[in-house]
């Protein structure tokens, strides 16, 4: 366990020093801040726009960070051969995978936290400057604790994407891993459509294939509760818990398969 935590800390340190995530977080914060200006242009809709843009920025930039660093965790180590010296240390290959994953989740947690603080800061400023009468027209309060539910599910989704990136990077090149992860991210968001595929096609085989894919591929749309939160609609705690459990089970399976592949791999 200690070895896993040391590896995680080193991944975190590496990624903090790497400027890519810095720039991404900075850009996201700027975007969230500028949403305030954009909100000014649309009377009455301002707080919704800020929340929408803020949550979208957190999700998209989180995705970039997850893919950028996630694929680098293993495939770059293999490609640059830094893994040789590491694997000669008294750590097992599964420990290495879990440590790398934990490190990236830690990095993501910090980045998502920064973006969330930026979003809340803008919303706090809005709430502070707008009159009570104006605020009463909002669907949900400016500083809405329900936003946390959306951010939390975005975070679980990012954890899942990181696990996907890690999974691909255990057997393919960095570029291919990035492309595959991004591809699955897109597919994952349209996955729910596969469930209803049989209603639009006649072929039984195609319908079965679609159903099979629906069960195998991650259903990422389940993690997206931005619209509900922004419009002040209820997101039941049970839904958040179930979706989180789904995400964690999927992550556990991905990590398990990753460790199995990684444990048998030749580093030529």
């Amino acid at each position: 366990m200690r070895a896993i935590s040391w590896i995680a800390v080193s991944v975190f340190r590496e990624s903090v020093r790497d400027r890519v995530p810095y720039n991404l977080v900075l850009f996201a914060v700027l975007l969230i801040a500028s949403s305030f200006l954009l909100g000014q242009l649309t009377a009455g809709q301002d707080v919704k726009i800020i929340k929408d843009l803020g949550l979208a920025a957190t999700a998209v930039f989180g995705l970039f960070i997850a893919i950028f660093i996630g694929i680098g965790l293993v495939s770059k180590e293999v490609e640059r051969r830094s893994i040789y010296a590491l694997l000669a240390k008294p750590i097992s290959r599964p420990q290495l995978i879990l440590g790398k994953y934990a490190g990236l989740v830690l990095t993501l947690a910090v980045n998502v936290a920064v973006m969330t603080v930026a979003l809340y800061a803008v919303l706090a400023y809005m709430t502070w400057t707008e009159s009570a009468q104006f605020q009463s027209a909002w669907d949900a309060p400016g500083i809405d604790p329900a936003l946390f539910k959306a951010v939390f599910l975005i975070f679980v989704e990012l954890m899942l994407i990181t696990a996907l990136a890690l999974f691909f990077s255990t057997f393919s090149t960095p570029l291919l891993s990035a492309a595959l992860t991004f591809g699955l991210y897109i597919v994952g968001h349209f996955n729910a459509d596969l469930r209803n595929f049989e209603q639009v096609v006649d072929s039984r085989a195609a319908a079965w294939l679609a159903r099979g894919l629906y069960h195998v591929l991650p259903d990422l749309s389940a993690f997206d509760v931005k619209t509900e939160v922004v419009h002040g609609l209820a997101v039941p705690a049970g839904y958040v818990a179930m979706t989180t459990a789904y995400g964690l089970i999927y992550i556990a399976l991905l990590l398990l398969i990753s460790t199995v592949i990684f444990s048998r791999r030749d580093f030529k």
């Binding site: 051969r81 010296a85 694997l87 000669a88 240390k89």
Partner: protein
């Protein structure tokens, strides 16, 4: 006492080709035993199978057949790695960590406490000649400096067995001498050092025993002196006070005659001419014997010849392997 490293019939095939995969044998039934406290040189040209062997010993790759043990445990035994150090060939570490941080990180993985780590890392970096640069990120390091950091990280746990893959690579002459001294220090401390190299002078200066691999096969192994003695190619006879008449009688038995100075000649005798008979002739002629020395193969000569032999034998073997 069991061998520090035991390699038995270790074989590694790689699949090459894109569509029609065919096996390529990178290492062919290698067997070696390295005793504790030995400095063992693992020699061979590029592509001979040295790095493949080291990777198999570190379980970075898995053998097709055969087995290996380090300190009595099969390779891959995680706890045994507590007692071994490894420098990969052309090592590469993390761009954004400093030399100090990298070593601290590796020391953490060995379970050292904070105070011990700091002291150990500082001492090691001093030992390999990394000064104030230790606080620079590794991406700013030259190849030679990375190599030094690589050597330091291989020693961070005070290992009993140290594997060094081309330790002198990328180092300037001063660096090479320092690493040589470091290996000798390790030997004096009773450590086992297994190092691969294609630089034969290093092996000649450091090793108690060597193995030469070529084309994935063991070409020779043993004490350096044994291998060289086996390869005596002839004799060099230096005589003085030689008159032209004497020279005319001596020249037919020598396959090369070199005049060193007036009346003094160096004669190279082939193994067909026993030196005892020639010495008797020299004495009978009244010339003065200055010296008689065996002409041995240098390791360099041996190396080139064995590699050439392995190379010429290889096409047939390849076919046989492909059929397997």
């Amino acid at each position: 006492m069991p061998p520090a490293i035991k390699i038995e019939e270790l074989t590694k095939d790689y699949a090459i080709g894109f569509w029609r995969k065919r096996p390529y044998r990178a290492l062919d039934r290698l067997s070696l035993a390295i005793e504790p406290g030995e400095v063992f040189g693992f020699l061979g040209p590029n592509g001979a199978g040295k790095t493949t062997t080291l990777k198999l010993l570190m379980q970075l790759i898995f053998p097709t057949s055969g087995r290996a043990e380090i300190l009595g445990q099969p390779v891959g035994h995680v706890a045994t790695r507590q007692r071994i150090g490894y420098l990969p060939e052309n090592p590469y570490f993390y761009d954004y960590l400093t030399a100090e941080e990298l070593l601290e990180y590796f020391a953490q993985l060995f379970g050292y406490g904070a105070a011990d780590r700091k002291q150990r890392v500082a001492a090691l970096l001093d030992k390999v000649g990394i000064g104030a640069e230790r606080r620079l990120q590794l991406r700013k390091f030259s190849k030679g400096m990375v190599q030094r950091v690589g050597i330091a990280q291989a020693l961070v746990n005070d290992p009993e067995v140290i594997f060094l893959d081309e330790p002198m690579s990328g180092l300037d002459p001063l660096g090479r001498r320092e690493v040589r001294n470091l290996i000798l220090q390790l030997r004096d401390q009773g450590r086992t050092v297994f190092f691969s190299s294609h630089i034969l002078a290093d092996a000649e200066a450091l090793c108690s025993r060597v193995a030469v691999v070529a084309g994935g096969r063991l070409a020779a192994s043993g004490r350096l002196s044994d291998i060289l003695a086996f390869e005596v190619r002839g004799w060099e006879l230096v005589v003085a006070g030689v008159t032209p008449a004497m020279l005319a009688r001596l020249t037919p038995v020598a396959h090369r005659t070199t005049e060193i100075s007036a009346g003094r000649y160096a004669l190279e005798l082939s193994l067909d001419h026993p030196p005892e008979r020639v010495l008797a002739d020299v004495a009978a002629m009244g010339a003065d014997l200055v010296s008689l020395n065996p002409i041995r193969d240098t390791l360099e000569d041996f190396f080139v010849r064995r590699v050439a032999e392995a190379g010429s034998a290889r096409p047939g073997q390849e076919d046989a392997r492909a059929r397997d």
